[in-house]
Symmetry: C2
Subunit: 357 residues, 2 copies
C-alpha cells in the first residue's frame, strides 16, 4: 500500500467519528492540548483507529494532563502535509509512515519498508535493539521532528489481479496500481505501474482501467470491496514485507513536557506499535477466512520465477536508494548488517518452525 | 526452558545489582511502594533485566508516584512462591511465566506456551485480539491475581546434544533435561526426560550425566557456556515455540490505584512484552553469529521423521491437557480456533515470505 494517494480522496471508509475517550481521572490539569494530524481518514480500520488509540492512551496515562485531539486527513491539513505541520508546530504530533516523506527525505523509506526487506518483527528489533531508532532520529533532527515506531502492517498481500501471473512474461505490460519502490521494481520487470487513490481502486479494477492493484491485506482490502472487483488474490506481499507506521512529534513540544509525560508519550507509541501489529494479525486471519469461505476468493501464489525476478530487481532498486546520499548509505549499512544477522537466526527459529509445525 | 528448577540454584548468572533508576521527576508523591518478586535471578539477561525495565517504566511514567523495588528469586521468597506471594499481597506485582503455576492451575500452561503451539506474534495476537486475555483473567480471578503479558522468548532452540539424532530410534533412552509438556512428549517417544536446575546443566552435560538439554536460545544459552559442554546445537524449539512471560498483579493493590496509574501499570507491561520479544530477536541474532563464527558450533536440524513423531505426540499431550477440566476445555477451544485461523493467514504471509525472500 501507499496510502498517500488514497488519502487525497478521503471520503471512502470514513465512519462517523467518536475520537477520544474522556480521561479516567483529571487531576493536576496542566492544560496541555495537542493536535494529532494523520495521513489516514478518520477512524479508518486499524490505521486510523490505531491513531485514535494512541491519543487515548496518552490522555489516560497522563490522567488528562495532555489531551490529544485527532484529525483525519484533510480535516486540518492534507495528508501530504503532516510532516511539515509537525515540523512547523502547527500540530504537536502526527501519525503516518516514513515513506510518505520520500519527496523530502528519500532515505526515510528504510524506516517504513523496502521490497524484500525485513518483516515486522525484524523491523521493530532493528529499530529498538539494532541502532535503527538512533538513525531515524538523526534523519529527522534537521526538521525539529522526533520519530517513533507506532504500528506495523506485517507482511502485506501482493494484491488483486484480473489476469493470471504464470511467468515473468505475464508481467509485461501489466497495468498495476503499485506506487513507490514496488512500482519501480514492476516497471523494471516490464510492467506499467500506476498511481491511483485508494478510493478509486474498486472502480479502476472493475472497469478494466487497471489489471491489478495492491493495497494492504485481507482486513483492509475487504473493507474496500476489492474481492468484488478482481478474480485473483495473489500472495506474498514482496513489496511491503513489514511496513512500520510512525508517530512524529514536534521537538519543542516534546521538550516542553515534564519527564514523566515524555515517558508516557513515547511509551504510548510503543504500545500502539505492538497493538496495531497484533490487531492486523488477528483481523487478517478472520477476514481471510471470510474471503475464502463466504466469498470464494481464488487465493493464488506468485510463481517462483516471478518472485525470483522481482527479488533481483528489488535488490537493484534498494541498492540505488542506498546510494542516494551519505545518510542513506549509513542507514543501509546498519539495516543490511542487522538483516543478515537476524535472517540467520530466523532461518532456524521462526522460519523453520512455520515450515515444520 | 523451564526456569523454576534453575531458580532454585540461583547463584549462576547474577550480576552485582543496580536495580531501579531514579525517577526523572518526583512530583505529587503519593508514596506508593510496590514490591516486585520474580522467578529470575536478579539481572538475568533479558528475563531479569526485562523485569527491571518494567519497574523502571512504571516509576518513570508515574513521575515517581509508584516506586517498584525488584527482588530476584530467593531474595524475598523462593521462585516457586511468586504466584502465592502476589495472591496474598506480600508482593504487589510478580514477573515469571504462567506454566510455573501448573501445580496449582494446570491449564495456565496455555498462557505460556505448548509444544507445537502458536509462536510469539500469534500468542500476543490471541491474547490481545482473540479473547485470550479475558480467559487468562478469569483463570486467575479466584486467586485475586490479575495477569498481563510481559515478554516473549519467541521460538526457542531444541537444545544442546552430545548424541546425534538421525531418526526416531535415537530418541530411545535419550537422557535429556526437558521439563513440563515437552518432557512428557519426549517420554512418550521413548526418551528419559529429567529435571535439573539450569545452573547444573553445564556440569551434567560435561560429565555425561545427561545426553542433552534444552534451555532458551543462543543469547541465554551462551551465557551458561553450554557450547563448551555439548557437541551439537539442534533446532527448532518445537516444545516452546513462543513462550509468553507474565506480570501478575495483586487485585486489591491494583484496584487501590487511581485510573491513570492503573493505565500506566498495564501499559508498561505491554511495552515490556514487545521490548523483551524484540530484544531476544536482536540478541539471538548476534549470539548465533558468535556461536557459529567464533566457537564453531555445529548447528543441526532435527530430522523430519523425528519432528513428525514429536508433533503427533505433542498433539496427544496438549489434547490431554485440554481435557483436564472445564476451564482447560474452554481455553483450548479459544486457542485452537484462533490458531487455525491465524495459521491460514501466516501461511500466505509470514511463512511464505520467509521462504521466498
Amino acid at each position: 500500500m501507499k496510502r498517500r494517494e488514497f488519502i487525497k480522496n478521503a471520503g471512502i471508509g470514513v465512519i462517523a467519528s467518536s475520537s477520544i475517550a474522556a480521561p479516567a481521572i483529571v487531576h493536576a490539569n496542566t492544560g496541555i492540548k495537542w493536535k494529532m494530524v494523520t495521513t489516514w481518514p478518520k477512524n479508518f480500520p486499524v490505521l486510523g483507529t490505531g491513531a485514535n488509540e494512541l491519543a487515548k492512551l496518552i490522555t489516560q496515562m497522563s490522567g488528562g494532563r495532555i489531551k490529544v485531539k485527532v484529525y483525519g486527513a484533510k480535516e486540518l491539513i492534507p495528508a501530504f502535509e503532516v510532516f511539515d505541520a509537525v515540523s512547523r508546530g502547527t500540530a504537536q504530533i502526527g501519525h503516518g509512515s516514513a515513506y510518505y516523506w520520500k519527496g523530502k527525505i528519500e532515505e526515510a523509506q528504510f524506516f517504513s519498508t523496502v521490497p524484500y526487506g525485513m518483516n515486522g518483527q525484524e523491523m521493530t528489533s532493528w529499530l529498538y535493539y539494532g541502532g535503527g531508532m538512533q538513525l531515524w532520529e538523526e534523519t529527522y533532527k534537521p526538521f525539529g521532528v522526533i520519530p517513533l515506531a507506532a504500528g506495523n502492517t506485517n507482511v502485506q498481500m501482493a494484491g488483486w489481479f484480473n489476469k493470471t501471473i504464470n511467468s515473468v512474461k505475464d508481467l509485461q505490460g501489466l497495468k498495476m496500481r503499485i506506487p513507490g519502490l514496488g512500482g519501480e521494481v514492476l516497471k523494471r520487470a516490464g510492467g506499467t505501474p500506476v498511481n491511483l487513490p485508494g478510493g478509486e481502486l474498486f472502480t479502476a479494477l472493475k472497469t478494466g482501467a487497471i489489471d491489478a492493484t495492491e493495497w494492504v491485506g485481507p482486513y483492509n482490502d475487504m473493507a474496500f470491496g476489492l474481492h468484488k472487483a478482481a478474480k485473483y488474490y495473489y500472495y506474498p506481499g514482496w513489496h511491503e514485507p513489514g511496513t512500520t507506521l510512525e508517530a512524529i512529534i514536534n521537538k519543542k513540544a516534546y521538550a516542553a513536557l515534564p519527564k514523566d509525560l515524555q515517558a508516557i508519550v513515547s511509551n504510548a507509541c510503543k504500545v500502539v506499535n505492538q497493538d496495531m501489529s497484533t490487531e492486523f494479525t488477528a483481523k487478517n486471519g478472520v477476514a481471510l477466512e471470510t474471503l475464502v469461505n463466504k466469498f470464494h476468493v481464488d487465493v493464488k501464489r506468485l510463481p517462483d520465477d516471478v518472485l525470483a525476478k522481482l527479488k533481483t530487481l528489488s535488490h537493484e532498486v534498494v541498492q540505488e536508494l542506498a546510494g542516494k546520499n551519505t545518510n542513506a548509505k549509513k542507514i543501509y549499512a546498519s539495516y543490511s548488517k542487522f538483516y543478515k544477522q537476524v535472517r540467520a537466526w530466523d532461518d532456524i527459529s521462526e522460519k523453520i518452525y512455520y515450515n515444520i509445525r
